[in-house]
Amino acid sequence: MSLTDGSAVAETPETAAIQRRTGGAGANPLLMLIVAGMAAALASLGFVSVGPNRIVSGKPLALWSAVEPAFAVGLAMLILMLGLAALLRSGAWRDRLVSVVAALLLLASVATAGHAASLVAEASGPIARTSLGAAFWIIAAGSAFAFADAMGRMAPHPLAQVVVAAAMGGALAALAVSGALSDLSLAREFANRREAYGAEVLRHLALVGGALAGALPIGALLGVVALRRQAWRKPLFAVLNLIQTIPSIAIFGLLIGPLSTLSAWLPGLRSLGVGGIGAAPAIIALTLYGLLPTARGTFAGLAATPPAVIEAARGMGLDERQILWRVSIPLALPILIASLRLVVVQLVGLAVVAALIGAGGLGAFIFQGLGQTATDLILLGALSAIALALAADLALRSLGAALTPGASS
């Protein structure tokens, strides 16, 4: 339908149908390649890696040596099933089968790694560390890709996608909570920092939230200005583009000077916690990064309103505010939400770097891990940031689906 023309919506049933058609009626060669890669990885690379303590890097341990044969065979059977599914004729049934097998494989590989860690802990004591190995990562990434690909082909309703993604996240969380993973080095790192973890997640969210509070209104305003004042459009986006190209570390560093001078001059600011390092420069930098996508999305969304509709609205006696709120914004909603997703995901990722200037957040674990050469601590921070970004994306996606009921029909 016309509302979604040119917008960022790529998952319409039409496109899925086209993909299905152009994908041919035969087997899925990409999936076969992935399965072959998984099998090769399982045969030649370590499924987990076992080290004597958390600092010394571990030695790879193949799946067969790490767990009882039953577990290894189970995992191999799932990979085999995925390979057989890849040979089936393309269609809804194959997609369903692939998504179920891939989801099971992902969960099973995580559970198996947890089990391997428990066996190592029994055998070598509590100091020994079991990290996730190369074969695990290849299987996890491959099954995640196969799952996402199959889901994309089935093109379920946006709300159904949200439910499925939430179920996957819930299953992984249930595995973690049950204690099945608690001997993994990653879980140990988490356990050691249980107190700090919640606080850093909240801090991370606060950094992103603070930046959004600045970037969304300012960016939206700039987008409207770009729409209304043609002369300002080019210079405005040139400046915003320039900001976007400055490396994040540089911008955090560049803000230290002016902000510490400012807080030295104005003691009131210092008592508010504004200084060269800490949350204030981080939020300012993240706000700056959020401006371009927000302004661009607002501009693109509002500019997509058909001129005839605006002309008719004005001719009927809607004033400029009514045109904006009743016509342009509702029509731009799919694009606006898509750019909001982009901004949020981008800021969740960028906020990691803010830890460098003492702003805290999940980046703190990453930089501590780098300092201590503790890979699993780095991983803890990184995976948490990824999970946060995915969760935010999912939430906004469902918001978009709820607000634009006609978009998928």
Partner: protein
């Protein structure tokens, strides 16, 4: 009554509207015609202040439009454009009810008015009120566009090439619908068109514009019979001026009352092209005429159509 008083509008150095004066009586349809870029659309937009004049005034029933708030003014004036511009995210009912809703009508009155208007433009309310614009054909959409413009019962309706993008059959149907609506509601209509046949069919007053200036105004018959200059002659008629003149001349004007002829009589109010058509297809050179208003009867012959006392009067 709409009075355009020495209206002038400049875009940069170009004069889009040049010292244009025109009076449109209440309850009439006035067509602004001319080639692309002649200033006809700009003139229309000056009336509801989508554009502000650089000189002159627009008087609506004696009130200077410049003294009214533009938004309030526009809510009192219906506006229909070629590209229709229905709100794609709203139902047909909400589209039509836009202005009444803005004016704060109670919901039940808006709903009642929407159904009334759908009936008026020939769309079944039960079938169409909750549909979305994209589910309708172009002709149906423009019917909704006309209904939307009439929603708050404005005295004045402005139409900017309203039927220009429609196929001939649909256009013909909508022109008929507009004439019908106008006959029933006595709206004052100013319509912009480049289609002289449309202007001849709809308007009682045609204003020919060229280069922002009013070249000639008058009834369709006046323009066809006595074009002011070669431009108007070429624009209103070209090679078909004589045939078009037949379309606007009533049979009664050429009838010889008291004389008789064979066959079914034609109404004196019908136009000469209809009479000529009857003669050509019936293979006759004389048909009886009946003036239903006065009861007089007479006859019209082929030579009367050609009007011996000067063909183009």
């Amino acid at each position: 009554m709409i009075v355009l008083d020495r209206l002038t509008k400049r875009f940069g150095t170009t004069l889009a509207v040049d010292n244009l004066s025109l009076t449109v009586p209440n309850g009439s349809i006035c067509a602004l015609v001319g080639a692309s870029g002649c200033g006809k659309s700009t003139t229309l937009r000056l009336i509801n202040r989508l554009s502000e004049p650089d000189g002159g005034h627009v008087l609506i029933d004696g009130t200077d439009a410049a003294s009214l708030a533009p938004v309030a003014l526009r809510r009192r004036i219906g506006y229909v454009i070629q590209s229709i511009g229905l709100f794609p995210h709203w139902s047909i009912a909400r589209n039509i009810g836009t202005v009444p809703e803005l004016l704060g009508w109670p919901a039940h009155r808006v709903a009642q008015r929407v159904d009334e208007l759908l009936d008026l433009v020939g769309l079944d309310p039960a079938r169409y009120r909750s549909r979305r614009p994209h589910e309708l054909s172009g002709g149906q959409q423009q019917r909704v566009g006309v209904a939307r413009a009439l929603a708050a019962d404005p005295d004045l309706l402005l139409m900017d090439e309203p039927f220009g993008a429609l196929d001939p059959v649909t256009r013909d149907g909508l022109q008929g619908a507009l004439l019908d609506i106008q006959a029933r509601t006595r709206k004052t209509v100013v319509i912009v068109t480049h289609d002289i046949d449309e202007a001849i069919r709809l308007a009682s007053l045609i204003a020919v514009l060229d280069g922002g200036r009013l070249i000639q105004q008058g009834s369709p018959h006046e323009l066809l019979a006595r074009p002011a200059n070669a431009f108007v002659e070429a624009f209103v008629g070209g090679p078909r001026r004589g045939l078009r003149l037949l379309q606007v001349t009533p049979v009664g004007e050429r009838t010889r009352y008291g004389m008789g002829a064979e066959g079914v009589p034609i109404d004196a109010g019908a136009t000469l092209d209809v009479a000529l058509e009857r003669m050509v297809t019936g293979n006759i050179d004389r048909i009886p005429v009946l003036d239903r208003a006065t009861g007089r009867s007479g006859a019209l012959s082929l030579t009367d159509i050609v009007a011996p006392d000067g063909a183009l009067r």
